[in-house]
Symmetry: C2
Subunit: 206 residues, 2 copies
């Protein structure tokens, strides 16, 4: 893919991928765009347009071959390119993400967690060790880590972010509710949970 | 606000709100659009356009009054309208969300958690009780709950979703990696974490 995919397309493709995974698990061979559209409560033409971006055509009457479409999405979204990431902050959210096995299917290899709490350091979560945050620079260098998943308490977010960037981190997936101040060559993806949900509630008048 | 705000605008407004909260905590009275733009690595004109949607104008040279702008965002995004929600699934992610005190500032009142694990039922998380999932219909009726935050394991997602909908739930904030099949009058917001992050990595060639 030379073309840049829009955020919304990427987001929908990952949802189609989940649906395809379910279908394949159930032994269903074909899926149609109306079936996908109905599950996501979106328009059928939207689904067809998205899949057309992958240069993939379904068969008349039966739809898309689930396995082929799944592989095509994986190639487009580069699921097979392994991206090593560290979780910084072994609180509830950090633990939940460490236990989330699905990340691997998407090419995310969470190789370790870091925390500064003595009672956590040294324990294992889902096969991943919790290391002392002090040792982060050493590991970052060893694994040439570029991605950090930030799940520390709000009040430490900026200081820890500065520390990670000093150790060579270039991409931060920020789960804290803080807007981090970072140099121009560092990219932050703000996982703005509440902002996501407000997109849903504000216009629906929940 | 009669006008519908786009998802991206809503998302950015919540980030501006975080920045304003920080500034106000630090005792800073004014904030300029370039200051916001720099923190978010976005264009200054974008920030000004978003804030113009709120019919708010900054003062020349000094910028926006932080407290006023903050209140205006809260009104626009209806932070003061309390939305009662239940967390379904008291695993790590459910616990992390229950402990996330910031939700209240946004009008989310997480009133209880539900799980089916005997060792969890009856315990308290951040002042919220974990009830037996069997009792959900009773509580849903009592509190007239419309929103459920779904954090159960993947394999139970569809069954639990059916159960919640039967009990009157109309909005599901779905943190599971499943695409749920729901009736037309039920809205699902898929918190597609991996899709969000792939938006970031795919086009950046991480």
């Amino acid at each position: 893919m030379k073309k840049t995919l829009s955020d919304k397309v990427i987001n929908r493709l990952t949802l189609y991928h989940s649906i395809l995974t379910d279908y394949i698990e159930k032994g269903i061979e074909y899926i149609s765009s109306p079936q996908i559209a109905e599950l996501l409560h979106v328009d059928n033409t939207q689904v067809r347009k998205d899949i057309a971006l992958l240069n993939y055509k379904g068969k008349c009457k039966v739809g898309y071959k689930a396995k082929e479409l799944k592989i095509l999405i994986e190639q487009t979204l580069k699921f097979k390119e392994v991206k090593t990431a560290f979780i910084i902050g072994a609180g509830n959210l950090g633990m939940a993400l460490a236990k989330y096995d699905n990340f691997e299917a998407y090419g995310f290899n969470i190789s370790a967690l870091f925390d500064n709490s003595p009672e956590k350091i040294g324990s294992m979560i889902n096969g991943k060790e919790i290391f002392n945050l002090n040792e982060f620079p050493k590991y970052a260098k060893k694994y040439d880590a570029k991605i950090a998943i930030l799940t520390v308490p709000r009040q430490h977010a900026q200081d820890v972010s500065d520390y990670l960037i000093n150790a060579g981190i270039k991409y931060i997936w920020n789960f804290t509710p803080c807007v981090l101040s970072v140099p121009k060559d560092v990219q932050v993806w703000n996982e703005n949970l509440i902002g996501n949900f407000l997109q849903f509630t504000v216009n629906l008048n929940v």
